[in-house]
């Protein structure tokens, strides 16, 4: 990519690796990365690619290895993971299409140059020998160009025909091959008319559409390509006889093994807590940002992070049977059902291809019956196939989708692929997850006005030393009112309990030595010498425009539902606040899928909006899915679209644009049909000259592209 090709002599001694760096944002990062790697021993060179957020590194395997490179980057403040090689193949595809496009463009321009001269010569006085020479030159350019640039279509058509199917590429390939073959024959026979220009410019226009499509998918893949390893890869097992600790792979943990999870470590397998009590970050599993308490006898799940003191577990499932693995399986199954979605262009092809081939056959038979020779009947039938080649169809859909996804991209919405837009346009119900989707992940301090400035300042000075979400909420509230508050110098945090600075304590009821009036985890107490403990209560904050968006959806007769894994009470209160009537709490990932399946059985097409790992299977199972950029990586990878920022307005925008895109696609189909309705009778009657074919095809392609571009400027189109 960025680096020069490896020459044989250096290739022998250097290894190459591609790393994905998630937090590479600007030129400064690029320079930082290249400088850090350039200074490191054993690294020959490094080239960062800002577009794909990847770094290509060549290093000496005797001096360092990939994990050394990753460590070097980590020291410079960049999170890198080794890039999955499978995705690199997609890059190759795009380059291949671009090469085909370049060759087809060159050939189309030069053949057109010759053909325009021939057409002009037909009206004037071009000699037969000159025309003949031009035809042969055109043939010499067209044959290799078609053989080279037609491959994307020929391959796809062949793989469809092999299994007795038709796709759009079958009529395309047929038209191109027949036009080229017939023209060659006509050239050899010294005839006046050849269709080389039609064949090649057809390929050129279609390749533009194909490339746009591939580019859109590639962009989304790059954004989603940075998959981190979720589960812990190692576990600490406590040997039953000796009590010694040994590090083993988490997949080697057997049911019944005693496992130690140190502070800050990921839980390697699902297990029961045998000893100790702690707080776990379960955001990966539930999407909840607040840590959850786990005491003796409770079940904890693989993938959670231990925020508090070390705990001992007894494994109750192998790593392959853990909740995390279950979710992965659920997702895989759900995704298979979605893959059955048939794209618009393919649905059109199912009708179009037999129709076109039928028309060609009718033309041939008709001319034979009318008494024309085989040669003339064949030429006319081929002319019908050339003129009906679905050029506009091949360009119509990708052109619209590229413009639509470009428009959404500017609004901070990333569209994964064209099919996503098509599915979005079809939905008639919206299901939301609660935490992180309707509410922001971060809790906010309730009723801050009841707390005096001095109290807030004291609490914030303690909270400043902690990364706990509730501490940060206090710090934010204090900063909003008082400006930045310095941390207390002697503040000390006890993970999972609270913070202490001298006599002053901030933390759970137990931590401040106070019999709590409510057991909710979302209350924190501040206790000072000689003062009654003061309660700080927190609640999740709704996304700022959640209410407006839900009202908007209802106004467009889209029913909404709330599917949450959280407890019923908070779910009901959020639903009531937003006016969602169908709310369910306490749902497992499997329950969510069952709800979606039930709707599907009723014939409803549901859009799922969610962010947690627990939503990922539902995101995959729903007809279409949207997830915020703050979501778990796996959810972002699964969702059809990902939106950035706090505003839920991305949802109506995505719906509006995808519906408008669908309208444009249908308009384009109608335009293409109109062209065919005019030109096919002419072709069947034998009046289509190569010049007419070239004009009709270029104009329809341009009109269709221009119609797609309208989407860029049209005001917000939103019809239910």
């Amino acid at each position: 990519m960025g680096t020069a090709a490896i020459t044989p002599d250096t290739a022998a001694s250097l290894n190459e690796a591609v790393l994905s760096v998630s937090n590479m944002h600007c030129g400064g990062c690029v320079r930082g990365i290249e400088r850090a790697l350039g200074d490191a021993p054993g690294i020959a060179d490094a080239r960062a690619n800002l577009t794909t957020r990847r770094v290509r590194v060549r290093f000496d395997p005797r001096a360092t290895d990939v994990s050394g490179v990753i460590k070097t980057l980590a020291n410079a403040g960049f999170e890198a993971v080794r890039f999955d090689g499978g995705l690199a193949a997609a890059d190759g595809d795009q380059k291949f299409l671009l090469r085909c496009l370049g060759v087809a463009g060159f050939a189309a321009a030069n053949i057109m140059l010759l053909m325009v001269a021939v057409w002009a010569g037909l009206a004037q006085d071009m000699e037969g020998t000159t025309r003949h020479l031009f035809h042969w030159i055109a043939a010499a350019i067209a044959l290799p160009a078609v053989a080279y640039s037609g491959r994307p279509f020929f391959r796809s058509a062949w793989s469809a025909v092999k299994v007795w199917r038709v796709n759009m590429d079958v009529p395309i390939s047929l038209a191109v091959i027949l036009a080229t073959g017939m023209s060659l024959w006509q050239t050899a026979a010294g005839a006046e008319e050849v269709y080389f220009d039609a064949a090649v410019s057809l390929l050129f226009f279609l390749l533009i559409g194909r490339y746009l499509d591939a580019q859109m998918r590639g962009k989304a893949r790059e954004a989603a390509g940075n998959l981190l390893a979720f589960a812990a890869t190692e576990a600490t097992r406590i040997e039953p006889e000796t009590g010694a600790h040994s590090r083993i792979r988490s997949s080697a943990v057997a049911v019944g093994d005693r496992v130690l999870v140190a502070s800050g470590e990921k839980v390697p397998v699902d297990g029961l807590v045998l000893e100790g009590a702690t707080q776990l970050d379960t955001s990966l599993i539930t999407g909840e940002s607040l840590p959850r308490r786990a005491a003796e006898g409770e079940t904890v799940y693989a993938g959670c992070v231990n925020l508090g003191p070390a705990i001992e577990l007894r494994a109750i499932a192998m790593a392959d049977d853990s909740l995390l693995a279950d979710i992965a399986n659920l997702m895989e199954n759900a995704q298979q059902t979605r893959n059955r979605f048939v794209r618009l262009a393919d649905r059109a092809a199912k009708v179009y291809a037999p129709l076109v081939h039928g028309l060609g056959a009718i033309t041939f038979i008709g001319w034979m019956v009318a008494g024309a020779g085989v040669e003339q009947a064949l030429i006319t039938a081929i002319a019908v196939l050339i003129i009906t080649c679905p050029c506009a169809l091949g360009l119509a859909v990708p052109a619209v989708q590229v413009v639509a996804s470009g428009r959404l991209f500017r609004k901070g919405i990333l569209v994964k692929n064209g099919a996503a837009l098509e599915r979005f346009a079809e939905i008639d119900r919206v299901a939301f997850d609660k935490t992180g989707t309707l509410t922001l992940g971060e809790p906010a301090l309730l009723a801050p006005e009841t707390i005096s400035d001095a109290e807030l300042r004291t609490a914030a000075s303690l909270a400043a030393v902690s990364r706990h979400p509730l501490s940060r909420a206090i710090a934010r509230a204090a900063e909003a009112r008082l400006g930045p508050v310095a941390g207390a110098r002697d503040a000390e945090e006890t993970p999972g309990a609270g913070i202490r600075a001298g006599e002053t304590r901030l933390g759970s009821a137990a931590w401040v030595g106070f019999a709590a009036d409510d057991g909710a985890e979302t209350t924190v107490y501040l206790s000072r010498a000689g003062a009654a403990p003061l309660a700080f209560r927190f609640a999740a904050t709704l996304r700022p425009d959640a209410q407006a968006v839900i009202r908007d959806l209802h106004a467009h007769r889209l029913p909404t539902a709330l599917l949450s894994g959280d407890r019923a009470a908070p779910v009901a209160s959020v639903a009531a606040m937003l006016g969602i009537d169908d709310a369910q709490g306490g749902l497992s990932p499997k329950d969510k899928i069952e709800r979606l399946e039930a709707w599907k059985a009723e014939g409803s097409r549901v859009l799922m909006v969610g962010d947690g790992l627990n939503d990922a299977p539902a995101l995959a199972a729903a007809h279409a899915s949207l997830s915020p950029a703050s979501a778990a990586d796996i959810s972002q990878t699964t969702a059809d679209m990902v939106f950035q920022g706090d505003s839920l307005a991305a949802l109506p925008e995505a719906l509006a644009v995808s519906k408008a895109a669908r309208r444009r696609v249908f308009e384009n189909f109608a335009l293409a049909a109109t062209y065919n309705a005019i030109s096919v009778p002419l072709a069947m009657a034998g009046y289509v000259s190569p010049m007419l074919a070239a004009i009709v095809m270029s104009t329809s392609s341009i009109v269709v592209t221009a119609n797609a571009l309208r989407l860029r400027w049209s005001p917000r189109p939103w019809t239910p």
Binding site: C26, G27, G28, G38, L50, T51, F106, N110
Partner: protein
């Protein structure tokens, strides 16, 4: 019409030159990072990124 004998080859040669240039730029990775180059130019310290001996 005799002019065609050299005009057409010249036209094809020039077109082919353009195509070759495009394929070369594609293969040498000039389209791989469309955003990076615009940002890199903002940092003008002559950092040496050539392979070390």
């Amino acid at each position: 019409m005799d002019a065609l004998i050299f005009l057409i080859p010249i036209a094809l040669f020039l077109g082919g030159l353009g195509l070759a240039g495009f394929l070369w730029s594609l293969n040498s990775g000039q389209y791989d990072d469309m955003d990076g180059a615009a940002e890199r130019i903002l940092y003008d310290d002559p950092y040496d990124n050539r392979p070390k001996p």
